[in-house]
Symmetry: C2
Subunit: 661 residues, 2 copies
């Protein structure tokens, strides 16, 4: 995994796809693809051109200097040896911390730089430049981005990140196919290959799987051992212990998350705002502090008002959107789900049931798609501060939909019909379905798509080159193979989320399923544990083999999902209490007897435990905080004198100016 620096720099990491043109190659100076390649070369990129079956691929690599220049232009904040994040500068590269694998920039930063270089090529001359492509002519206006223009014209079909064969193979061997490691994963390597967000997902999945062994063993024991007259007492004990387990798990996950970020030298602790970058832009116009203070009377209050108005408007919009989603879920989805559950219960014949389920499955596919689209549209009206906020907002909304869909039918069985047999059956069904089918689907569907595309590409090529067919035609370049692979994208709203959405959704729905009905079917945890062990490897395989390399995202926590998991936990306190009441009150007397009162008390105690425990275990390990503090202090100590001089210098100048006025 420790490729030396030289090798690192020359790896081709981005491919730009342009159509394969007709053979004639005269008049190169005006052909836009030739022009584009020329421009990339001038921008300092290393260009390799590959002509595939149907398209031409421009593979790009960036030497360190080019990346450094782009990073300096972007004012990319990077961790320095002092722990402070400072804007990158080429001359002072040694001040910045290197990645665990020895390179200066992380994959996410490199991608950011590539993006900046590729899309940053603008027409700097004042005149319009005319470009030609296969006889078609178009005008590249002043200050227009070349690649954007070409995308609009349909010449640049896609810009996608390329897999790094050496690292990919290493990961495949040591991670995806290394089943014997069970929950152990090479997280540092995953981080440096896929970026923070995906590494955090796998870290979470691994830790979740490790922790789930405890309730799994407990649950199976409960199922196998007959406790006789103690049976009535065992379930509440199980209930309390799994809730405590969940509370502790999430607290320790938060600690693990911040420890990981400290290891990767990423500074985004829980307290800080991801909105930083957004605000920074607004304030880039530097204002003298004296001016600011003087303006307190008029401008400051105005500014404050502006902010407040904006803030409350944002709140209102968010509130409205949430209300719309919640109301539509309650008024539209709930009756539909209940109708299905009721019909399923009522209908006698198995064939009819099967038909109903098929119709239902199609209907919910459609529903989810509509729901996702509506959510994405609604979110556009919210002025969320960054893309990650928007993505979180989407996650909450869409999860609401899935939550209703997944659990309301089960609740119906439990609460209205007290049908525990059906409940257990449904739980086993869903868990096995999710285990076997979803993992299969996840991997096979992309592969089938890819195979079909490849087949079509080869057939087309054959058609075109009829008669000329040789063995060589069968050879397909790796870059074209990758191009044909599907993108790692979410089932809803591709613009805000990537495939992690579906993976997390699966995990959250599974968590909800096993937690909320824990008392009805304790061995569910064992199913989940098995599922997660396979999930780790199949997800790894999916990312490494089935998909294009995903675009790296900077998000450093699991974001909205943590809140969703915690919400599910609180829900599970309530539902398990309801389950226990149903279990112990089989005659339907609904009388508050000591047992029932005890359950109510247990509920309240657990709710208390949830909030007390979360306070007891600090979210950030002490050593991480100490490190952070030390860094902040060091940096301040270093620059405080100089800063003070500058500030008071400013002050003096401005007061002098005042006197002159």
């Amino acid at each position: 995994m420790n490729g030396d620096g030289e090798e690192e720099q020359t790896a081709f990491e981005i491919a730009v796809v342009v159509p394969r043109r007709t053979g004639k190659q005269g008049d190169e100076s005006y052909d836009c693809v030739e022009f584009l390649v020329d421009v990339f070369r001038k921008a300092g990129l290393i260009v390799d051109r590959v002509i595939g079956f149907q398209e031409e691929f421009i593979k790009l690599a960036a030497p360190l200097e080019t990346l450094g220049r782009a990073a300096a232009e972007l004012q990319l904040k990077k961790r320095t040896h002092f722990g402070m994040d400072l804007p990158f500068e080429g001359d002072e590269a040694e001040a910045f911390v290197r990645q665990p694998d020895g390179s200066l920039f992380s994959w996410c930063e490199r991608y950011h730089c590539y993006h900046h270089i590729i899309y940053g090529v603008v027409n700097k001359s004042k005149s319009v430049i005319t470009l030609k492509s296969d006889g078609k002519e178009f005008h590249w206006k002043s200050e227009e981005s070349l690649v954007r223009k070409l995308e609009l014209e349909g010449i640049v079909k896609e810009v996608f990140p390329l897999h790094d064969e050496i690292k990919r193979k290493w990961l495949l061997r040591n991670w995806a196919l290394n089943w014997w490691d069970v929950t152990r994963q090479p997280l540092d390597e995953i981080y440096s290959y896929f970026g923070t967000k995906i590494a955090i997902y796998f870290a979470f999945l691994g830790m979740y799987t490790r922790w789930i062994f405890f309730p799994a063993i407990f649950g199976v024991t409960l199922q196998l051992v007959d406790f006789g007259s103690w049976q009535l007492l065992v379930l509440p004990v199980f209930f309390i212990s799994i809730i405590s387990w969940a509370v502790l798990f999430f607290q320790f996950w938060k600690r693990k998350n911040s420890a990981l970020l400290a290891r990767w030298q990423i500074s985004c602790p829980f307290g800080e705002d991801p909105g930083y970058n957004f605000l920074e832009m607004e304030w880039s116009s530097f204002q003298s502090p004296v001016e600011l203070i003087k303006k307190w009377g008029n401008d400051k209050t105005k500014e404050k008002e502006l902010f407040q108005r904006k803030e409350w408007f944002g709140c209102l919009m968010r509130f409205r959107n949430d209300a719309i989603i919640i109301l539509s879920i309650i008024c539209l989805q709930l009756p539909f789900e209940l109708a299905y559950a009721h019909l399923y219960e009522v209908i006698g014949s198995d064939l009819m049931k099967f038909g109903l389920t098929v119709v239902y499955l199609f209907a919910i596919q459609y529903f989810n798609k509509i729901g996702g689209k509506i959510s994405v549209r609604l979110i556009k009206y919210e002025n969320n501060e960054s893309t990650e906020y928007k993505a979180d907002s989407l996650i909450y909304k869409v999860f609401g939909l899935y939550f209703m869909q997944s659990y309301i039918g089960i609740f119906y069985h439990v609460l209205l019909h007290r049908n525990f047999a059906t409940l257990r059956q449904v739980l086993i069904q869903r868990l096995i379905v999710s285990e076997v089918l979803e993992n299969l689907m996840e991997n096979s569907l992309p592969y089938l798509k890819y195979s079909y595309k490849k087949y079509r590409a080869i057939r087309k090529k054959r058609k075109r080159e009829k008669g000329l067919s040789t063995g060589k035609t069968q050879f397909i370049y790796r870059v074209e193979k990758e191009y044909l692979k599907p993108t790692y994208s979410a089932s809803v709203g591709a613009e805000l989320e990537d495939g992690l959405f579906d993976d997390f959704l699966e995990l959250a729905l599974q968590f909800g399923m096993i937690m909320m009905f824990a008392c009805a079917f304790p061995p569910a945890f064992a199913f989940a544990a098995l599922n997660n062990i396979t999930e780790i490897r199949t997800d790894a395989l999916k990312l490494l083999v089935m998909f294009k390399r995903p675009i790296p995202r900077a998000a450093a926590t699991i974001g909205a999902w943590l809140n969703i998991f915690q919400f599910l936990m609180v829900m599970s306190i309530c539902t398990n209490c309801a389950l226990l009441v149903c279990l112990y009150d089989q005659e339907g007397k609904w009388k508050i007897e000591p047992g029932l009162a005890a359950i109510l008390i247990i509920e309240h105690v657990l709710l208390l435990i949830k909030f007390v425990f979360s306070r007891l275990v600090p979210e950030e390990p002490a050593w991480v905080r100490a490190n952070r503090m030390k860094n902040a202090t060091q940096a301040q100590d270093m620059c405080s004198k100089q800063l003070l001089r500058t500030i008071s210098g400013n002050e003096k100048t401005s007061s002098l100016l005042e006197k002159i006025d």
Copy 2:
């Protein structure tokens, strides 16, 4: 309020109390008091000596230069015009933001400096200096603090801050006696006279009083208007609305708090650690980053382990202490309180009841004192990071005691005896008692103490000067009057908390009383509103007239009390549901009918509301955050280049050194 700088500097703000010596004043060079005054003068303080009836008072004032020197020695972090907090330096005084009243240092900072100057006088010579006082001789060792030594010897009796007559009178006129302002208060002036903590208390009290008008009006309406058949529906509506009111109130309080801090240019937002100063000391020994990185293999992990061990040990100690407190409250206090409540219910004769109550009141006084002492001792074993953390820990523990004491008897009446008449009676009793008696006590007790002390002082003086008595003897210096006034201290653990503890406790107990039994007695809110209006003025009066000027504290939020208020709110959701169940289920059937189920559902919905609402209203107003961000960015922009150069310079040097090695 805008005393100009000149006047500000010469105000005497600290008094040192030494015994009045016998008349003979020869041999001054060896007299320790003369020596002390000399030393103070040399340290740059302005000294004024007042000879009172019994003691002699050394009044101290510090010119700006002296304060500045002390602040620079202390490396006092001060807000600069760039919004960054930097250590103070005398030369660059203009870089620092001035207080709202135009002075450079806030009262808290000034006190800190005075403290440093007064206690910082050490024997710099290597030899022991012999000092004399009224014939007694003692040795001032090398490196020993003079004032500490004199305190040990009983010569310096007290060091206390002095009231500023001009500002005090202004505040008295415009704040304490200005009843027509109802809840409006001159917060900026309070802040500059008393420091952050007290100003935040009054801001909280004012806002709480303003907000409580709404439920007060609602509650009184409920009492006065007869809703007929709707009566059953009105109470739940009232219940839901007061819970929403409380949730919103606390969210808006957090916003108000951060807005106030932004106005006063204090940087302690909710996310940040107050533990900063503690850690800073540890890290003051500067370590080269390269060394640190190299040590990753051995030292870093060791350090991490050390931190983790310390952290978990701290957790364990805290857990143990909390367990001790909770267990002793449940096992010792609960039976006692229940016994009292039961006896009170059982005993028929009024005289016996009265006697029982008297015994009970004495017993709980004693209990509280013991509880406080135990808590303080337990806290000493916790390695809390700062004094404010310790104070918070004490608050939680002592509040647990008071919580049991105040409410368990009431719960007993409600739940076991369903005695709503007694409940209402108890509520009215307690509210009126707290309104009238406590306010009276608060003000009269210190006054009586003060009067008694003054009387004794004058009588002693008279005795001593028998026959010489003239009109002049009756004249008592202001500084002596202040010396005779009691200190603003807490009823428990004077070392960790000041009088604000009792004021907040009163407020919290009142809040719990009106919230937890809201459905049983809605007009309680009106009582509380009246109480709070008087509370604002009487507390102000108390601070300005009855007590010595309190020692300023830097804490910038209401700390533990916010959590306690929120805990009481959650408790009130549960208790009100229980009350509603009791009210609607008068026959004691305990059957889950639609009404009862509805109440259970309401409870869960309200708990949900609590956690959703708190997410909906951001804790920090957008403009405050934007301001903070802007400041951080500006500061970073300014020093990033220089910092980078320094860091990479360090890197280069160290790598050179490596090569040489």
